[in-house]
Every structure is written in structure tokens, then in C-alpha cells.
Amino acid sequence: MSPAKESEVHTTQNPRPTSLDVGSSVLNVGCSGAGSHSTHGGLKDLDYSILQQCMHCGMCLPTCPTYDATKMERNSPRGRISLMRAIADGKMDATRTFGEEMYFCLGCLACETACPAGVEYGHLFEVARSEVEKSGALNNPRRNAIRSVLLKGLFTRPRLLRLVGRGLWFYQASGAQWIFRTLKLNALLPKKFRNLETQTPTARATFSCDIIRPVEAHAAPRHRVGMLTGCVQDIILSDVNRDTVDVLLANGCEVHTPKVQVCCGSLHAHNGELETASDLARRLIDSFDLENLDAIITNAAGCGSHLKTYGRLLEGDAAYSKKAAQWSVKLKDIHEFLSEIGIRQPQTTATPHRVTYHEACHLCHGQKITKQPREVLKSIPGLELVELPESTWCCGSAGIYNITQPEMAADLQERKLKNILSTGVDTVATANPGCHLQLVDGARRAGRTLEVAHPISLLAMAYRAEKVVG
């Protein structure tokens, strides 16, 4: 064995702000919250042992969808980590190629499940994308403009986002979308966006705040919980939020749902905007009475996975570190929470119903929640759970990946649909809005009828049937 050639034992614990942070906080147009000081460094400031933890054994390779597609090490978790380490070691700059590679990664975290050494890839990936944004390696005017409008403008302003949602609903409900599609105005759009128009999700006429009261409870509640309504979920799947509240009520909870909630910042953290993500985290924490709640409930896998990292995200923030740590402990995915308190079995007659379950990456890999959603489904009388082949393989939605990497996303979508159709069921359950939309779109493309439902919606339906019978 020959020892490594590095010159010193390097264990930086407190990342220092870099000069580039000044630039990014100037660009922080949407964030007016307090304390938008920088606490996030780049790869060189990272605790080196996190990178070193990768022993490049290769166990991640067979579980990585991008490596599976190309068989190139650069497109694998250990390959990407080796590039991050080269940057941390000062042997390479954050080049354009590096930037593209970091955005080719789905961030599905299947590698974290496979990793024998417990490498925190999700954390490395966020820091690496942040490094790419700070380096400006991928800068071009159009990309910058889109990012600025979406990440810093729209997804930091819940009321504006709802207004856009309302606009989308009007576009769809008024018949404008029908006219647009009938006249094939699609052809006028740039090629990259043509497919996107057809993928536009259907907005709901009501938001969560229209159908959920700030406090709801049945008699003698046993638990007091806070309810997160999300941003995308709020606009296009607000009924899932209603279903979640109904299920919580049916399981003895008093549910507190603040009317206006900011985006959790998952989108920002995954896309290299850690400062904005921190700001959103602070604002979201402030909208709940954390001390007096037993748990904060989320029903969206992608959000949950990120919401649980607030403790780490804000650990350098003296004013918030304690609250954020408490938040991380109290934050529960709905299935996880129900499993902990014990699901009350719906008292309905069994209607035979075959359902398969697609595991959202950020539930099974990001939060290691695999048994609980199955428990939820199996608690429904008459429901037969048919296991899905490759249930933990990414469907290609991956946040905004289907927008940034349409080809790879489409391949994964096709693979997922093929697996779902092989089970012969007509309903697939999944617990993430991104996956939900990706599966609906996949079924449309495949020309097949497929019901896509949140497991909690299926459970809520069973409780409702109970009331009708009772």
C-alpha cells in the first residue's frame, strides 16, 4: 500500500463564504426574508471526509439510471464524486462539462441506497450544483433568465405562483388550450418546448386554502399536526392535500394548515440555489407553531426528502439552527407518520381493486420509506397490491429533469410505463407530484388508460365510503 500524496489532514467543518456569494445574494430578487447571509461554500469548503467516504467500490453503478443508459463512468455516482474530489483537490476547475454532468444526474439517490459506505451523495450533489452556479460555467442569457424568473421570482412568491396557477386554470377551462392545440400553434414554439405544452398539467379550480380550513379537528384529537400544502401540489393536486387532511382527521389528529405557505426550497437546493433555499426554509419554519405541534406532515416525497434536511441547511445560522434541527425531527412523511401512530383500518366492505405502487425516489431512496406506503395500501379493504417490477427505478420526472433533459426523461418514462403495464393493473399509486404527472403523461403517450393516485387518496376514499355506509 502506498499512502496518498496529499499534504495535510483536512477537515474543514465551517464552510466559509466565497466572494461569489456576494453576487448571488444581489441576484436574490425574490427573497426579502431576514438573514440572507451566505452560509454555503463550494466543493473546496466541504468537509472533505464526505467526499473521501466514497471508496469507489462500484456498487452504485448498477442502480444508477444514467450509468445504465451510457455505461460511462462519468455518468455514474462514483465517477461524479471523483470529479467533485478533483475540484476539491484543486486538480480541476468547475468546467462547463462538469456542470453539464451535474445536471445530467437525476438526483434520484438510488446510489445512496446501494452505497455500502453511506456516502451522502444527495448533499454532495447539491453542493456541486451550487458550485456550478457560482462558477457560472453554464451561464448563458436564456438559461439565466429562465432560472431567475422561475427559481428566484416565481417559486419564492406563493401568491404570485397561485396567480399563475389561476391563469393556467383559466387557459385550460376557457377553451384557450383547446384552441391552441387544435390550431397546432405548438409548432410556433422552439423545438425543445413543443413537447412541454402537451405535458402541461391540468390546474385545479381550487387551491388548498379554499378547501382546507386553518384548523380542523374531530372530537378529542390525540395528535396535533401541521400540514404542508406544497406549491406544485397546491396548484394541480390540491385534492391530495384535502385527502391527506381527511386521513389525518380519521386517525385522530387536529390539523393546522397555514393559508399561505412558501415553496419548501427543494427545487432551489437541487438546482444549485442553496441561499434561496435557506431563505425559503426560514420562512416556512416561521409559518408554523413548531413548539406546539407533534409533527409537521408532508405528502410529497421530493419535498419531504428536502424538508428533513433543514437542520443541516441552516446549521450555520445562529438564529435558526435550533429551530431547524427541531423541524427536521418533527417533519414526517404522511405514510411514515400513519405507520408510527398506527393506521385505523377503514370499516368498509371490500371492493376488489388491484393496484401497483411506484416508489418515488425521494421516498424510497431519499427517506428510506418503503414499507409504510405499502402498509397504507394494504390497510384498504379489498385492495390487492401487485408488486411493480423495478419499483424503485426513477420514472424520469426528477424535479424539472424532464424539462432540462427531455430525452433521458422520456426513456425512463417509457421503461416505467412498460413495467406498470406488465402488472395488468389499472391503477398505479405514487406519492410525489412530479412522478404523478410523469405517469399521467406517460400513459397518455402510450395511449393507455391508467389511473394515477396518491396512496393517501385511495385511503381517504375508503374512509369516505365508510361514512356513506355508516
Binding site: V9, M55, E101
Partner: protein
């Protein structure tokens, strides 16, 4: 030299995928071995033996070293590039070409994944027993090159026991097929056997013809916990003396047991000195009888508890501790160095004791687990490669452990190979004359020394 090779290869094989940018090459500068890294000049992905042969010929003409690579999971540095080398990555040659149920053979390209080979055999109701730890991604060509082992060595042997034939590209660019589907064949030297375990230094394996066996009808798992190392070792000896050959006989030491408890919380007794995980397979009646007998022997030799699984779920639960062993150890420190000192079965207790004492003497954390049935141990060093003072102690301890293994009639590596990591210890493990004959073989097959040079030994 490389420039000339690049232009030759580009002209003759324009369609072969190639990588030459820094961002693409860095991920090919290492394999699964700790602390080694060297950049290649170029990585190529040939898709047939003809292409491999053509590229090797070009490399010979230009004097460019060629390093063959599969999935890069090796643990001795065998597939790490050497200075100025071109890497031939065979990952795209991954087809399983034939399962012959009449002759019980399977033919695959060298880049086929080991698990895919095992699955293809299983689909035909057959069994490919070698199961190296990385089989989900390791390639069969890499397994042949390193003569990989696994958990079933005691009963079923290792990779070499299943290789019936090989297609090999020689350093000259010629292609041979050595071996066939005959169980018996004594026509001339068995060239096939020379390439097994040669770590890509004598030729490049491009196809592998494997022997398959019938799938065992059933299996039974048991776990025994011991308060002393000696009682565990005596149990193993008693099982073998009772003429029982279990298919796996795995062992965890006290450090490993505690790491497993820290990480996986399986419910193992923290004061235990050793745990044995034993599995027997075959005809249901024989399996039941052997399992009962082994449980009895374990109790007789001082096991503090013995659990026999009644169902597949219970078996899986019992195997959790063994499955979690390596990952539990790997989480403890930034650098994990997995070694594979091996001794005759009868010397296991002495060897394990020595490893523990050596760890204490050098103030190092070493967890040992491994294949008790075949004497193949995995002393695992939990350290930090950036701590040079500690790494120095790791090197000292490692040398002492290897020397002691050899003094017991053992060897420096049971299943990982020599590659770069064990080069300096090879002299101790074999005689000068053996080494000299290896050198003569190398120069007979590869006179210019272009195939994976400076691996195993310096020419």
C-alpha cells in the same frame, strides 16, 4: 507514442467509442482499490474480439501499454491505468451468447455482468456458484482475470473451477480459443488455465465458456454466537471432521459485530467474540439432517446461542448481520482497506488472534470477517488516507499480517489478486524460482510488455 496510437486507432476504428477529455478520464483513473490513482491517456470501448485484436496490434506497433478493464471493481488495483496507457473497457461486450442445457455450459462475452450470468443459468434451472461481493456489477472477464472467489468457496470452489474455455486476444494481436465443452480434455498444455488469474498481463479475455451445475433443491441457514474465538474455530473443525461441507461458513469478529450493531442494530450480543453464519444446501433430507447436526456441534463446542431458520424470511434475517458486515465497517472511517490474507483452515484461530493483537499493537482499528470455511479472511483497516502517520502504521501492520499468514502456510491474497496493492508482498508468498518462471511466462506471451505492465511484478 500515444499520439501515433490515437491516430492509428481513429483511422482504423472510427466507430469505437473513445474518451480523451479530462472530465471523462478522471473517472477511469481508479478502480475499487483504496489509495491508488493514475490517469490513462485514452479510454476505448471495443465491441468485439476483432476490434480488441486490432487495437492491441496498433498498441504493439506504437509501444503503448494496454490496460483492460471491466466494471472497475477490483480490490488490488489490477485495472488501474499505468502512465501513458490506453484503457480498453469491455463493458459494451456484455452479451450472454448461449446457455447449453445439454452440456451444462454458458458462453458469454467478457463484459457480461456476473449477476446476469447467474440469472441466465437460473432461468434454465441451473446454477453458477461463484458469487464475488461485487457480482451485481463485476464482469465475468474480470472474474476470470482475478480468479474471483465468493462466499461459496468451501463447497463449490472459485471462478477457475467453472471455466471450460476462453477466447483470448494475445499481445501479438492474434486471437485464440482455448478449451471446449468437453469435461475431459488432455490434448496438450491447458493454456486456458494460464490465463485464469493472470490479471490481464498475458492476454485479454474476450469470451468465457463456463460450466454450470444443477441448482440445489433447498437450503437451510443457521447462526451461532460464541464467547471466544477458539470455540468458533473448534466448531468449524468439528463440522468438517463430521464430513459436512456447508456451502457457506462465514465469520464475524468482535470489532465487526460491534460495528454491525452500531449501524444496523440487528440485536447481536456486543460481548460476543465471534459469530458464525452457516448455510447448507442440497437434497431436502440431507440439508435438514446436516443443519441439525451442525447446530448440535456448535452447542457442544460452546456456542452461547444457535438459531436455525425455519423459513426463507428467517434465513434472510439471520444473514443480515453478515450482509451488513462490510457496509457497517465501511462507515466507520473515511478510508476502508479491505485485505484478504488467507491461511489453511486449521490455522484460522491463530491468524485471527494475530490480526487482533497487531491492530492493538499499532493502535489501529481492524475489523475481521470472512470465509471461515476456506480460510479466506478479510481484515478490514478503518483509517484515513490523509493521515500519513496512521497510514504508515497501517503499512507496518499489513506487512506483519501477511508475513504471519505466509508463516502459517497461507498466502497474501485469497481472492483479490496482486495487481499493484500486493506487489511488494508477493516475494514473501512465493519462491524466487516461482517468480522467475512467472517472469519467463510473461515474456513468452508478451515480449514487448504492453499488456498491463508492472502489475503483479515488475518484468
Amino acid at each position: 507514442m500515444t499520439a501515433k496510437f490515437k491516430s492509428l486507432a481513429a483511422a482504423q476504428f472510427p466507430h469505437i467509442a473513445r474518451l480523451e477529455e479530462k472530465e471523462d478520464l478522471i473517472p477511469y483513473s481508479f478502480d475499487g482499490t483504496a489509495t491508488f490513482q493514475t490517469m490513462p491517456d485514452l479510454v476505448l470501448f471495443p465491441t468485439s474480439a476483432e476490434e480488441v485484436a486490432g487495437l492491441v496490434k496498433n498498441a504493439g506497433e506504437c509501444g503503448v501499454p494496454v490496460v483492460t478493464r471491466g466494471s472497475g471493481t477490483g480490490l488490488s488495483g489490477g485495472s488501474i491505468p499505468v502512465e501513458g496507457s490506453v484503457v480498453l473497457c469491455l463493458s459494451k461486450m456484455n452479451r450472454i451468447l448461449e446457455v447449453d442445457e445439454k452440456n451444462l455450459t454458458l458462453l458469454a462475452e467478457a463484459g457480461a455482468i456476473t449477476l446476469d450470468v447467474a440469472t441466465a443459468a437460473e432461468k434454465a434451472g441451473l446454477f453458477y456458484p461463484p458469487d464475488p461481493g461485487s457480482m451485481k456489477i463485476s464482469t465475468i472477464g474480470g472474474n476470470v482475470a482475478e480468479n474471483s472467489g465468493g462466499l461459496r468457496g468451501l463447497k463449490y470452489g472459485v471462478t477457475k473451477d467453472y471455466v471450460m474455455g476462453l477466447e483470448v486476444v494475445l499481445a501479438s494481436g492474434e486471437v485464440i480459443f482455448t478449451g471446449n465443452k468437453c469435461v475431459k480434455d488432455v490434448a496438450g498444455y491447458s493454456l486456458r488455465d494460464l490465463f485464469i488469474g493472470s490479471e490481464g498481463t498475458l492476454g485479454i479475455v474476450t469470451k468465457v465458456l463456463l460450466k454450470l451445475i444443477p441448482k440445489p433443491a433447498t437450503r437451510r441457514t443457521l447462526m451461532a454466537v460464541f464467547a471466544t474465538m477458539e470455540s468458533a474455530a473448534e466448531t468449524v473443525s468439528a463440522i468438517i471432521a463430521a464430513k459436512i461441507i456447508p456451502c457457506t461458513l462465514e465469520f464475524l469478529d468482535a470489532v465487526t459485530i460491534n460495528c454491525v450493531e452500531d449501524f444496523a442494530k440487528v440485536g447481536l450480543p456486543r460481548d460476543a467474540a465471534a459469530i458464525l453464519l452457516i448455510e447448507t444446501d442440497g437434497h431436502p433430507a440431507a440439508v435438514a439432517e446436516e443443519a441439525d447436526r451442525m447446530a448440535e456441534l456448535a452447542r457442544q463446542h460452546g456456542a452461547t446461542s444457535v438459531q436455525v431458520a425455519e423459513t426463507a424470511e428467517q434465513a434472510s434475517a439471520l444473514a443480515t448481520a453478515r450482509r451488513a458486515a462490510f457496509s457497517s465497517l465501511a462507515r466507520v472511517a473515511p478510508t476502508t482497506i479491505l485485505e484478504d490474507a488467507t491461511v489453511p483452515r486449521s490455522e484460522l484461530a491463530k491468524m485471527i488472534r494475530f490480526i487482533q493483537e497487531t491492530g492493538q499493537r499499532h493502535n489501529l482499528k481492524i475489523g475481521t470477517f470472512g470465509h471461515m470455511g476456506d480460510g479466506n479472511l478479510h481484515p478490514t483497516f478503518l483509517t484515513n488516507e490523509r493521515n500519513h502517520e496512521e497510514m504508515h502504521r497501517v503499512e507496518l501492520a499489513m506487512k506483519e499480517i501477511f508475513d504471519f499468514a505466509v508463516s502459517l502456510g497461507g498466502t497474501i491474497t485469497g481472492e483479490h489478486g496482486v495487481g499493484l496493492a500486493k506487489k511488494e508482498f508477493l516475494k514473501a508468498a512465493t519462491s524466487d524460482l516461482n517468480l522467475e518462471i512467472m517472469r519467463r511466462m510473461k515474456s513468452a506471451f508478451d515480449p514487448a510488455g504492453i499488456l498491463n505492465p508492472r502489475k503483479i511484478f515488475n518484468a
